[in-house]
């Protein structure tokens, strides 16, 4: 019998703790496959965030560091400066990256730090049980916006990819989703390209991936994916926000 598909060895055998219908599992697999295909075997360091993917160090089968909430880009900076020939990536959610860690992500991009950030945006704080995030949509009900997010009080959701694309020394920024097979393939290609740019010493790359959170959105997995398509994608348009390599 011939093997036609197998799990990448860049994921450990530890079962994911993620909720049913959560997209972290798909995104983890794509990232791990890209690590395998990067050709950087034995020379990869990942940085895990605080949030739902806090245990990413248990899943990605490479050297890993767990960062304080929001600080992953600073930790990755320290790693990359000490090991400039390594492939260094951070894996962060929207609470981590778009709220408490805005200074760290903005300045990693500003310095043109040669790292890759995987930014998983599900418009909510998942791990703490569904609180409003800076990325929460207008009118979206969460445990800390029980009447729906009101722009007058909370501002409009922050678009990190567009913001970081404006920074002179960010190199490649793309927003993706994993809501269908075509988009999964696009996401994988984007991450592959980001790793390639990093290995070429090009500069800061971030791939934002829109992700469903059925548990905290109060929807079943099918409804959640539909909600993502009907609400998140229109506000957070998919596509390349900046690609200096293509210019």
């Amino acid at each position: 019998m011939s093997v036609v598909f197998q799990k990448t060895p860049y994921l450990t055998d530890k079962p994911f703790h993620y909720c049913p219908g959560c997209n972290h599992g798909i995104i983890h697999r794509i990232v791990a496959e890209c690590l395998e295909e990067s050709g950087m075997e034995g020379n990869i360091v990942g940085v895990a965030p605080v949030g739902c993917s806090v245990f990413a160090y248990d899943y990605f089968n490479v050297d890993m560091m767990e960062a304080a909430h929001g600080r992953a880009p600073a930790v990755a900076t320290g790693i990359k400066r000490a090991k400039p020939d390594s492939l260094v990536f951070t894996y962060q959610g929207d609470g981590d990256l778009a709220s408490i860690g805005t200074a760290e992500i903005v300045h990693a991009a500003h310095r043109g730090e040669k790292i890759t950030t995987i930014f998983v945006n599900n418009a909510i704080y998942g791990m703490t049980g569904g609180q409003m995030a800076p990325t929460t949509l207008i009118g979206q009900i969460t445990t800390t916006s029980p009447y729906g997010r009101d722009e007058a009080w909370c501002g409009a959701p922050i678009k990190m990819s567009e913001m970081l694309a404006e920074i002179p020394d960010s190199y490649y920024i793309e927003r993706c989703a994993v809501n269908n097979n075509a988009n999964i393939i696009k996401t994988k290609n984007a991450i592959k390209k980001a790793f390639k740019y990093q290995m070429e010493g090009k500069g800061f790359c971030m791939i934002e991936v829109l992700s469903a959170c059925p548990t905290n959105w109060g929807l079943n997995p099918v409804e959640a994916m539909k909600w993502l398509e009907e609400n998140m994608i229109p506000y957070y348009p998919l596509g390349v926000k900046k690609d200096k390599g293509a210019e």
């Binding site: 450990t12 360091v45 089968n61 890993m64 560091m65 600073a74 900076t77 000490a82 090991k83």
Partner: protein, 358 residues
């Protein structure tokens, strides 16, 4: 060996480089800005890395990342900036990352002043960040002593896998003294000596050797075991790493306790009083954590009274009292803010104590 006249900040920075530090992450803040300035010029010369972070928060997390690869890393700041670093320091302690942190203390609380102070003693030795942890904390009282301690600071940090803190003050960094610089040490990460570090691992290698730099143990039993490991290390440090100086304490009737630059003022006061025929000595902890409790008790066993002198409201006083446990009258003199206690004031205080029959 020739002595060179050097400014404290530059001498301490150079000493760290001579001890193998090749990575500096920091942020400008008075009165230690000459350290990053010096590093920004010096690191490129020796193939090291100087990086001006966006904040002290980011700087200490860069330290975390670089130290996690096994490199010798340093950051420096002053009181308000060190407060910002406390989160990262706690994470370094929790993840058992060796590194060196300099606190060039200035007056507080809040923005305080930019002049020297000792107001961060509690922060340094009683906590600072969250959780049960300690830092080996050196309080040098001369530039030469800071240089000399720096030469073994990384060895201690790596032996026990703890961050090392230098608790200095603005005077130490701003003054100039003749110093002797040690030879340059090249440091290369040895994965055998640092099996915990992210030095390269691939699927198929021994899973036990995959680096996971982490302070999260969601299972309480596992966290308890992790804390036991930390505490066992602290017990070893307490047993092996205490440093202190006894200055004319042997026959002293009055013993002044003081640390850092204030101890130098205390020594001058002791010398003046000895000229008057009053036997005064100085006990100076060099490590303020671990604090030399037993050694202080032993040194003060024949004296009449203790005077604790600090440039704060009497923070080390609590440890001095713990050391002698009420066996000797123990007084305090000092100033908060950035006012340094003077020899005249110390002498007057001891005369006052003598009048009171202490």
């Amino acid at each position: 060996m020739a002595l060179t006249l050097m400014k404290g900040s530059e001498a301490i920075a150079e000493a760290a480089i001579r001890a193998g530090a090749r990575f500096f992450f920091g942020y400008p803040i008075t009165p230690q800005t000459e350290i990053p300035e010096y590093m920004s010029a010096r690191m490129p010369e020796i193939g090291g890395c100087y990086l001006q972070a966006e904040s002290e928060v980011a700087a200490i997390n860069m330290v975390y990342g670089a130290a996690g690869t096994g490199a010798r890393v340093i950051t420096s700041s002053s009181s308000p900036g060190v407060s910002l670093k406390q989160e990262g320091i706690s994470y370094c302690a929790g993840a058992r990352l060796p590194c060196v942190i300099l606190n060039v203390m200035r007056g507080g609380p809040g923005l305080g002043s930019i002049q020297a102070s000792q107001g961060d003693y509690f922060q340094a030795v009683k906590g600072g960040g969250n959780g049960d942890y300690h830092l080996i904390t050196y309080a040098p009282s001369s530039i030469q002593e800071a240089i000399d301690i720096m030469q073994f600071a990384y060895d201690k940090a790596e032996k026990y896998r703890v961050p090392v803190l230098f608790l200095a003050d603005g005077i130490m960094c701003q003054m100039m003294e003749p110093v002797e610089m040690p030879p340059m040490k090249e440091y290369k990460v040895d994965p055998e000596k640092k099996p915990w570090a992210a030095t390269g691992w691939k699927p198929g290698d021994d899973p036990e050797k995959r680096a996971v730099i982490n302070s999260l143990f969601i299972n309480t039993e596992e966290l308890s075991v992790h804390n036991d490991i930390l505490q066992a290390g602290y017990a070893q440090i307490r047993a092996n790493e205490k440093m202190w100086e006894c200055y004319k304490t042997e026959d002293a009737d009055f013993i002044i306790t003081a640390f850092g630059t204030v101890a130098r003022i205390a020594k001058s006061a002791a010398d003046s009083m000895r000229k008057e025929g009053i036997k005064v000595g100085v006990f100076r902890p060099i490590t303020v954590w671990p604090f030399p409790y037993e050694e202080l008790k032993e040194a003060t066993k024949n004296c009449k009274a203790i005077l604790d002198v600090e440039a704060n409201e009497g923070q080390m006083l609590e440890d001095v009292k713990l050391a002698v446990l009420g066996s000797k009258p123990t007084e305090y003199f000092g100033h908060c803010g950035s006012l340094m206690p003077s020899t005249t004031e110390i002498i007057a205080k001891i005369h006052e104590m003598m009048k009171e029959g202490k």
